[in-house]
């Protein structure tokens, strides 16, 4: 009787509550995703508008766009693949084509990163804190819990897709300059759907693996699949062996779907959607069948760390031991990214030298460093994406730093006979060491590639370019006998690009005055950059002096002839 009376007082859950509040697992997940939706949608929309504005400003007429197309067409396959994906970019001379190629990769990868982070954590976080036990003993089946979590994320992604579609259309409205620039609503929607679906595909892998591997490992694997898939797809033109693997990536499947460039391939999106659903179903089923709990997962046997690396002697070591795995992981990841960029950046710089107008525009876009140098290209690549990776790495380290307090062990630590200041300084010091580890491992990744290329670079024969040899012989061809770098040249290391015309204007002017037809070089195919090397009296094939700086190469600027062409290209 009491139960019957109480049922009469039960307030039913409103539909709005079920959809966007605490009325259901779906509603709560949507509610929890509000901030992420605003951030992701805002970021993507902002990027679209920025890319549109840049394109309209940098390439306002057909001539400028022709140069851009020529530049990209002349890029080496590896760099083109890494920057634009497999195949040649489509309609790069239109606003929509330029945006859809997304040279910074941000638009292509941000939705995937978000999905990976959201779907790897959505159930694991609840399991870890214990709230999942409360949810799982309600009359909502595990399959429904997982499905509602998924559909909520899909709904959030749908909102992002809608906002991106509007932003893409607005970009077309605001920045169209030439016929063909307009972006139709259909094209904008097609593009946004592609972004959303590929993002969900990446997240579905994390979701499927999370019950088995745990949150962090699942996110790492899904991230590796996404980044690796993009890279393999981009490099398949250079390495045909990659094709088999590339054909398994959604980047390859949807290569012909470029709605902003007027190309549609809806079947490929259907395939992506189907695979995503399969991964989702696998994740739901795994969640329904496995034991629940923070540690209930199939344990992957990882060898234990040596005691010496656990930092049990004091706060600095202990904090550092907490940071070390993340620092090494992020360092390796960013280093590999840098390595791939560095591998292609020299070719890019060479090609950029052929298009002075574009080089000048890029120089205005990146005024603090010389985009026409290898190091400059690397720096620009990091401006586009490497910095985001670095920020994510920093966020990871800060989260670990804060975990003393959030995990509740800080009070225990502070109850030991140490001052708060000591703990703060010790853990802060460990953060800096961890950052140093990230930097070191990253530098190793990039530096390794540098070292590998050094032996094959063009370099000047020092003796031939000494000002003393050049002086008094203008117009009579290149001098042939030796000189050594003056000490003053070494002192110039590390200065800004504008100051690095070593060993000074005399040599440059002499080199310009002494211009002669270049002899053929047996080591390299004819090309503007190499021709210029020969023109300046440089030869090929042997290690060059380490004092040379890449910043001296201003290939796009006819008035600033380079003196040292970077065999020992170094980061700015």
């Amino acid at each position: 009787m009491a139960a019957e009376l109480s049922r009469a007082n039960v307030v039913r859950v409103a539909l709005v509550g079920r959809l966007f509040s605490l009325g259901s697992v779906f509603g709560k997940t949507v509610r929890d995703s509000r901030l992420a939706v605003v951030v992701v949608a805002g970021l993507l929309s902002l990027l679209l508008l920025v890319f549109g504005k840049f394109f309209a400003a940098a390439y306002p007429d057909a001539e400028a766009r022709g140069q851009l197309t020529d530049l990209v067409a002349s890029l080496p396959a590896a760099l083109k693949g890494l920057t634009y994906g497999s195949g040649d970019p489509v309609k790069l001379d239109t606003l929509g084509g330029y945006i859809s190629q997304d040279p910074g990769l941000l638009l292509k990868l941000i939705p995937g990163l978000w999905s990976i982070l959201a779907l790897s954590v959505t159930l694991a976080a609840e399991a870890r804190r214990g709230s999942l036990d409360f949810v799982a003993v309600t009359p909502v089946s595990r399959r429904r819990i997982a499905t509602q979590k998924l559909t909520a994320h899909a709904a959030a992604m749908t909102v992002v897709v809608a906002v991106v579609a509007v932003a893409a259309w607005l970009t077309g409205q605001a920045f169209a300059r030439l016929p063909g620039d307009a972006i139709s609503p259909g094209a904008a929607i097609g593009y946004a759907i592609w972004l959303g679906l590929t993002g969900l595909a990446a997240g579905s892998i994390a979701f499927a693996l999370a019950p088995w591997l745990g949150r962090a490992a699942a996110a790492a694997v899904a991230g590796a699949v996404m980044f690796g898939g993009y890279i393999v797809n981009g490099y398949q033109a250079s390495f045909p062996n990659f094709s088999k693997v590339a054909n398994l990536t959604w980047f390859s499947w949807t290569a012909d779907h470029n709605p902003l460039a007027g190309e549609y391939d809806w079947q490929s999106l259907a395939l992506v959607a189907a695979v995503t659903v399969v991964f989702f179903a696998a994740g739901v089923e795994a969640f329904a069948r496995r034991d629940l709990g923070p540690e209930e997962r199939i344990a992957v046997r990882i060898p234990g760390r040596p005691d010496a690396t656990l930092g049990l002697r004091g706060p600095v070591g202990r904090s550092l031991a907490e940071f070390l795995p993340a620092a090494l992981g992020w360092g390796a990841g960013i280093g590999i990214y840098g390595l791939l960029i560095a591998a292609s950046s020299r070719s890019f710089a060479d090609q950029l030298g052929k298009t002075p107008d574009i080089a000048a525009k890029l120089r205005s876009l990146f005024p603090t460093y010389d985009i026409t140098t290898t190091g400059g290209v690397l720096q620009a690549a990091f401006m586009m994406f490497g910095f985001i990776l670095a920020c994510l790495a920093a966020a990871t380290l800060v989260r670990i730093w804060a975990s003393d307090e959030t995990a509740g062990r800080l009070e225990l630590l502070l109850s030991s006979p140490s001052t708060r200041a000591r703990w703060a300084i010790a853990s802060g010091l460990a953060v800096y060491v961890a950052i140093a580890v990230v930097t070191l491992v990253t530098a190793m990744g990039i530096g390794d590639r540098r070292g590998g290329r050094r032996r094959r670079r063009c370099r000047p024969r020092r003796r031939d370019t000494h000002p003393r040899r050049l002086r008094g012989r203008p117009g009579r061809g290149w001098p042939r006998r030796g000189w050594a770098h003056p000490p003053s040249a070494r002192r110039h290391r590390g200065r800004r690009a504008g100051d690095r015309d070593l060993p000074g204007g005399r040599a440059r002017r002499a080199a310009q005055a002494a211009r002669v037809d270049p002899p053929p070089c047996p080591d390299h195919p004819p090309g503007a950059a190499h021709g210029r090397n020969v023109e300046l009296g440089w030869d090929c094939g042997q290690p060059g002096p380490r004092t040379r700086r890449s910043g001296t190469r201003r290939l796009g600027d006819a008035t600033s002839r380079p003196f040292a062409l970077g065999p020992a290209t170094e980061l700015p």
Binding site: S6, V10, V13, L22, S24, V25, F134, P139
Partner: protein
Amino acid sequence: MTAVIQTENLTKSYGAHRGIVEVDFAVERGEVFGFLGPNGAGKTTTIRILLDLIRPTGGKAYLFGVESTTDPLAIHRRVGYLPGEFALYDRLTGGQTLEYFANLRGGVDRAYQTSLIQRFDLDPSRRFREYSKGNKQKVGLVAALQHRPELLLLDEPTSGLDPLVQQTFFEVLREAVGEGRTVFVSSHVLSEVERTCDRVAIIRAGRLVLVDRIDALRDLAAHVVEVRFAGRVPAAVFEQIPGVSNMIIEDRVLRMHVAGPIAPVVQAAARYELEDFISREPSLEETFLAEYGQEVVEMAGRGR
């Protein structure tokens, strides 16, 4: 009476780690059943199997006659559960948290929910992360109780509660039992179980040691007697008294366990000059450990 909970050879192993081994017990409708054991004995594992949060390696569990793995939803509709360790949503207030779990059950009686909040003296307007440990426990208790479940599964429910709130909690339990509902309480504090439970099961090292009425357990209790003599301890006199065991002599102090009537010990001691005489009834926990501890440890050792 109908068994609300019935287990048959319930076993769970975590690879190299022990879980529970062939646990058998039954809980009848309308009773308060205590599930006792030291930390790590397998109490939480047993409860999580009953709720199908984890799956047994062997054996079966039935709740309301339904096998736990075949139709867990049918069980969950009739169950309220308080985990031993939990944290809820930091950004939600206590009230929002309770509303969420009420909604997942299709709504609850708001008046009853409000009365529970008031009785437990919970401020529902504060965010969960701002609560003290005891207040977090109160949120969990209300979430487990607010839908008036037929069966309450409570894993160490008084953890973090102050004595006043503990009193309220036991009142609520008595009311629930008065309405014909069943309570299954796990605890490692015997005094808590003594106060509330009709029957008790004791688990140690993953094996069920004893299932009996609480009164029967009390019969096992032996007095602990400590006598301080003015002179030398007459140990031989006390050794001959029936029921005396575990004699320990330290200087002029004699300690012993006395099973059965204590009068012969008092009479024997009265013949000597005494400085002090202390007799106390041991807790059930001490009794349990003295009676079953070693045996079970040896049993577990043979099982490996």
